[in-house]
Amino acid sequence: MSKKVLVFAEGREGRVRNVSLEALTVAKKVAGGGEIVATVFGTQTDSFVESLAHHGADKVYVVNSPSLDQYIADIYKEAFMQVVEQVKPDVILLGHTPNGRDVAPKIAQALDIGMVSDNIAVDVLEDKIVFTRPIYAGKAFVKKIFNDGTILATIRPNNIPMGEPDESRTAEKVDISYTPSGNALRVQIKDVIRKASKGVDLSEAKIVVSGGRGSKSKEGFEKLYELADILNAAVGASRSACDEGYADYSLQVGQTGKVVTPDLYIAFGISGAIQHLAGMSNAKVIVAVNKDAEAPIFQVSDYGIVGDMYEVLPLLMEEFKKLLSESA
């Protein structure tokens, strides 16, 4: 049976987020030939329509309102519900991003339906959609189904391969106006302090360079950014590195902190506590550099170098630079 699917598409730095395109790939899989509708919020999103069409959207609802340029949970929920009322979808998909994961449960509640968060795989078995998601930060996984009602799920970035774009596809653009109600204006945004401009977003990065207690100092930890720049990678940290003040808590990878699944994870001076391993052991390829040959991190790594990270780091930077300039 075909299903109508609504995908919430988000942008970052002027482009559609990869996870939104990954959600469209899921949409194609579950729609069974049904219509795929994407929706984008804010005044800077007109250019997203083309890319969403290439990845499978038949229609794009553009909610072009300046009130949506900054995320506020109540405002996003209200605007989203307006789209839901017009589209009447059977399935709703969002990226498991800071905004997506925050607004999705509010939408689920407003519709009085279930929700399955943070999925790493979505399959169709007979007439059921089966969602696979980690529990205990990936120490185990569950498969979930819906018993009844509209289906609502969030998709974890960087896990479901994005389909090839079809550049011949176009989508019908539907403009929607939205004005927040008084209720949605209870929360006011006063200021935004940008700190994360440095580098690539951790949860969506293809490569993560991470430092632990072995970084020894804040200055030492900062050196990881030089390697990250060469590889276009994000920088992560272990809990010890954060507790010691070498790195900001927003960089922490682990069961408390962020769970990352990049193609390549390079761990410098990280011993590999269980709670850290939970946050990164599902990366496709893991490299560990540690002085201690007995460190548990080597049990989950594909390649290991036993040595001082400050001796290895410059060597790797030089080698990566060489390799990447050869292939450029």
Binding site: I72, Y136, Q188
Partner: protein, 255 residues
């Protein structure tokens, strides 16, 4: 200032997961307050110490939750409510409905909760409750300031900080970095034993299990394939560096 804290008990994050009959085994497991809820408990106590009032934790879960609740009471929480009726254990839909019914019977200015629990990590319940109570929610707080009937919250968003303001009551979820939770003191632990813990059934809160029946269902639980320890490179460090980069290109194909 009356503050409610949503509290869940979880596995200690250093626990490994073992399956028994297709389910996560609790045999010999060390349980703790969900680390993110612990920040919420600490923040509630700090606010109470400054502004006065009362802190109440609200939980939904099995009998074993009591040890986490007693820890919170020992930290300085005044009283606790535990819905321990298995008839209303379900999914996030169920949990939010049950907890909302409990909250509706309380007077509160502020509700605090962890932004996520480290076991299921669904991160749905506070948002759902906010929606049912029709109060605002601000997630992943790293700093909270209360000024009269207004609250200012610094919120972590992918490393950036947003500063938001809202009128009370609101739900705030805590992110790491909000505070440093205290250890319970010995007198605190003694006092906690006598603090009220109210155990409620579905009947007590006027919820019929049918009305809050789970919308989703787990059909399988499984462990990830065990990762084989990989190759430890050998030889001169500089050669190892070169070899590693080549392996990442030609064998692993990730560069």
């Amino acid at each position: 200032m009356n503050i409610l804290v949503l509290l869940k008990q979880t596995f200690d994050t250093e626990e490994k997961i073992v399956l028994e009959n297709g389910k996560v085994s609790e045999e010999g497991v060390e349980f703790v307050i969900n680390p993110y809820d612990e920040y919420a408990v600490e923040e509630a106590i700090k606010i109470k110490e400054e502004l006065g009032g009362e802190v109440t934790t609200i939980s939904l879960g099995p009998d074993r939750f009591e040890s986490a609740i007693r820890t919170a009471l020992a930290m300085g929480v005044d009283k606790a409510i535990l819905v321990d009726d298995p008839d209303v254990f379900g999914d996030e839909y169920t949990a939010a409905k049950v907890l909302t019914e409990v909250i509706k019977d309380q007077t509160y200015d502020l509700i605090l909760a962890g932004y996520v629990a480290v076991d299921d990590a669904s991160g749905q319940v506070p948002q759902r409750i906010a929606d049912m109570l029709n109060i605002p929610i601000i997630s992943t707080a790293v700093k909270i300031e209360i000024d009269g009937s207004n609250i200012t919250v610094h919120r972590d968003v992918e490393g950036d900080t947003e500063i938001l303001e809202a009128p009370l009551p609101v739900i705030i979820t805590s992110q790491q970095g909000l505070n440093d939770p205290r250890y319970p003191s010995l007198p605190g632990i003694m006092k906690a034993k006598k603090k009220p813990l109210d155990r409620l059934s579905a009947d007590d809160i006027g919820v019929s299990p049918d009305e809050v029946k789970a919308k989703t269902e787990v059909i399988e639980t499984f462990l990830p394939p065990k990762k084989e320890a990989g190759r430890i490179l050998s030889g001169e460090i500089s050669d190892q560096g070169r070899e590693l980069v080549q392996l990442l290109r030609s064998e692993a194909k990730v560069i």
